[in-house]
């Protein structure tokens, strides 16, 4: 899942090097000298885990307490994160990893329960749709039916409610409802009086999640209104829908979450209605789409320096560098494949890449890039 406000599309920001990193240079040298690892903990981890199976150098462990069925193809994982997990804001997401037949797999999910619920019970919930032919989502449901341990990242993302007091319009498509459930629960707990309307799209009338909960919220929160629209009956989102169901849309802060086409349709509907882009936040449900102009780069050459392999890639269809690398027979370390976990970071020696997440073109010089969200925009040399 990728989060963006339109301001994130502005020129790329370089990640600052934390001061503590520089200070620990000596410790790193010692660790790599004595243990061949950057950190002492990484060397001792296999032994420590013999005694403390929940101890980990990467993220936190969390225990799966329950797999709750929401709909036929939607379930919620109820998790108890290990002590020390830093909590979250409503609307944020986490990465969970688990070992599937020896292979560490990870996925990103929005947290569908509220921070207030976590504070009270120590639990969080992730609500997950089973992907058709998915490798992970059906497996998670089966494998953890009787509980188990997963790894959990810190909560991330800036798809959180704006600081202003302007009324909110939430537009959800399908499983994109999950961050809004967290957000609405939290508003109710905090006794917020901020007006909030939810436009909720689903395929059929039977595909709406959390109906009973939302009905209770309607009783509890007089400033909350809910519009359920199913595609069968009402069709897809349009400017007309927004005008019809939310007359004061122009005065509202708008948050959108759903599948890529739904977000694109919503954004173009809003621009048709001349809504200021600064009012809009959105979160892709999955990888950001690759839509880029490559008029003058018909064929590009990607040189994988360390493996001494060159890949000639055609402009169409545009492929991420992770896919290019894998097709060239390389096996770069990768994780979420949607630009969140930073595991597939790789040093680009030269050339320009297009970042599908931020929509920005890179510098020509040497820098770290994420393979899974980078597309070649010129010939490249990669340290891979």
């Amino acid at each position: 899942m990728t989060t963006m406000t339109d301001s994130a599309l502005s020129p790329r920001s370089s990640r600052p090097v934390p001061r503590s990193q520089r200070r620990s240079a000596l410790r790193r040298w010692l660790a790599s000298s004595l243990t061949q690892h950057d950190r002492f903990a990484a060397y001792f981890e296999p032994l420590i885990q013999l005694v403390l199976p929940r101890w980990s150098t990467a993220g936190w462990r969390a225990r799966v307490l329950e797999v709750r069925t929401e709909l036929d193809d939607v379930y919620s994982l109820v998790l108890r994160p290990a002590k020390g997990w830093s909590g979250f804001n409503a609307g944020q997401y986490v990465e969970i990893s688990a070992e599937q037949d020896g292979r560490r797999v990870s996925r990103i999910f929005s947290i569908s329960s509220s921070p207030a619920y976590f504070a009270r019970t120590g639990l969080i919930e992730l609500t997950i749709r089973v992907q058709d032919q998915g490798r992970i989502t059906p497996w998670l449901r089966q494998h953890f039916a009787d509980g188990g341990l997963v790894s959990l990242s810190a909560a991330q993302g800036d798809f959180v409610v704006s600081q202003s007091t302007a009324p909110l319009l939430l537009i959800a498509g399908g499983n994109g409802i999950t961050p809004f459930r967290s957000l609405l629960q939290q508003m109710q707990r905090e006794g917020s009086v901020r007006p909030v309307q939810l436009l909720y799209y689903a395929r059929h009338a039977q595909h709406f999640l959390f109906r009973e909960e939302f009905d209770r919220l309607l009783l509890d929160m007089p400033q909350f209104s809910l519009t359920l629209l199913n595609n069968e009956e009402h069709g897809f989102i349009s400017a007309a829908h927004i005008r019809q169901y939310c007359t004061d849309y122009a005065a509202r802060d708008i948050m959108i979450c759903g599948p890529t086409p739904m977000i694109q349709a919503t954004r173009s509907a809003l621009s048709e209605l001349a809504v200021d882009a600064a009012q809009i936040r959105f979160e892709y449900f999955g990888a950001a789409p690759i839509d880029m102009q490559r008029a003058n780069a018909s064929d590009t050459l990607v040189a994988f320096k360390r493996s001494a392999i060159n890949a000639d890639i055609a402009a169409q269809p545009a492929q991420t560098l992770l896919e290019v690398a894998e097709q060239a027979g390389l096996k770069p370390v990768s994780g979420c494949r949607i630009g969140v976990c930073h595991q597939c970071i790789c040093k680009k020696e030269s050339g320009v890449v297009f970042n599908t997440k931020t929509g920005a073109y890179s510098d020509t010089g040497s820098e770290d890039i994420q393979l899974c969200i980078s597309v070649a925009a010129s010939d490249l040399i990669l340290d891979l």
């Binding site: 004595l34 020896g102 360390r306 770069p332």
Partner: protein, 366 residues
């Protein structure tokens, strides 16, 4: 000995059957492999830490010292062979583990892993036993085939060989720098070095600095009252590891019957020809499971060369199948006991220390 190549039909069916063995093994790679490598890593870590303590206990009784040295040597052998070599070949990259992968792994040996991956995974594994292309063939020090012109220094190459074995980690560390003529010789014209010569030099000194600091400064100083005893113990452990790894590797490629190839023979070769060359250029060692583990499964050098990125614990099982396929296609498959194979290595080193006169008649050429 250079070798000619069997018919295209034979090689094609041979290729199909070797591919089938590979696909079958690949389909079995999974949880058991992940559990296995983690288990070996735990043993290695435990031995590494414990051995440092036991060496110090040498002041109570010298046997502690001996035991500690053996444990440390064992930890280093496991780290270099069954863990490091195999992980850096990418055998466990599919696990997607942040530490157990070829990109990040670094081993407990003087050789910088990045440098080793460049020349070993690419040069040696692609151009195995091609005279002039595979610099692992005799390491530029030994004459192990009459394709290499005889020089006077070859007369005492058995001594050179023993020295190389004892100092093996330094040889491995220096290998790429020698090829690039960093300190000596005329600069190589066809260099494909992807980093600058300065970077190569810096990485070389950085890694050997770390290793020397660890074994010969840090641990002896930490155990200050027994400084010399710890220093000596660490030197011995490194020597044992050097001798072991070097011996295993020589048994894998330089037994009496291991073949060599010329560059022309290998141009435009098919996958089948490549398999064929890998098999003829390598030899296997037979032994118990613990022996395979201590060699990092390089006891199955043939299978390692056919399938360098399949987790090595599958090799002994695959070896039986590969041997059968070879037999069916009339392709020689060189396998024998450790003692026997090692004897032929020594014979080979000795034989080629003398100028070429008998050579050709004794080896069957195909």
């Amino acid at each position: 000995m250079t070798t000619s190549i069997p018919s295209a039909e034979t090689l094609f069916s041979f290729e199909q059957e070797i591919n089938a063995i590979r696909d079958d093994a690949l389909s079995k790679v999974g949880q058991a492999d992940a559990d296995y490598i983690r288990r070996v890593i735990r043993w290695q870590r435990a031995l590494d830490l414990l051995s440092r303590l036991v060496i110090v206990l040498g002041f109570i009784h010298p046997l502690f010292w001996v035991a500690g040295v053996l444990m440390l040597a064992l930890a280093k052998i496991l780290d270099n062979m069954e863990i490091g070599h195999n992980v850096m070949h990418g055998q466990y990259d599919w696990m997607n583990d942040p530490h157990i992968n070829s990109r990040n792994f670094e081993w407990d040996i003087a050789a910088d892993g990045e440098s080793w991956k460049r020349y070993h995974n690419h040069e040696h594994h692609t151009y195995t036993n091609i005279i002039g292309k595979d610099r692992d063939y005799g390491y530029g020090l030994l004459r192990l085939s009459d394709d290499i012109p005889w020089r006077k220094k070859n007369l005492w190459q058995i001594i050179t060989y023993l020295n190389l074995s004892l100092l093996f980690q330094w040889g491995v560390a220096y290998h790429e720098l020698a090829a690039e003529r960093i300190f000596f010789g005329k600069r190589r014209k066809d260099s494909h070095l992807p980093i600058s010569r300065e970077e190569l030099k810096a990485a070389f000194f950085s890694k050997i600095g770390k290793q020397v600091f660890k074994d010969y400064v840090f641990w002896p100083l930490l155990c200050f009252p027994v400084f010399w005893s710890v220093l000596l113990g660490n030197v011995c452990a490194n020597l044992i590891r050097n001798l072991w790894t070097s011996t295993i590797i020589f048994c894998g490629h330089f037994t009496e019957e291991a073949h060599t190839f010329s560059e022309e023979e290998c141009q435009n070769e098919t996958r089948g020809q490549w398999y064929y060359r890998q098999i003829l250029g390598s030899s296997n060692l037979e032994g118990a499971r613990w022996f395979h583990i201590l060699t990092g499964h390089l006891s199955c050098q043939i299978e390692h060369h056919l399938f360098p990125d399949i987790p090595a614990r599958h090799y002994p099982g695959m070896a039986k199948q590969v041997e059968q396929v070879c037999k069916a296609h009339g392709i020689p498959y060189n396998s024998g006991s450790f003692g026997h194979q090692y004897l032929t290595v020594v014979k080979r080193v000795l034989r080629y220390s003398l100028p070429d006169k008998s050579g050709r008649g004794t080896l069957a050429t195909h």
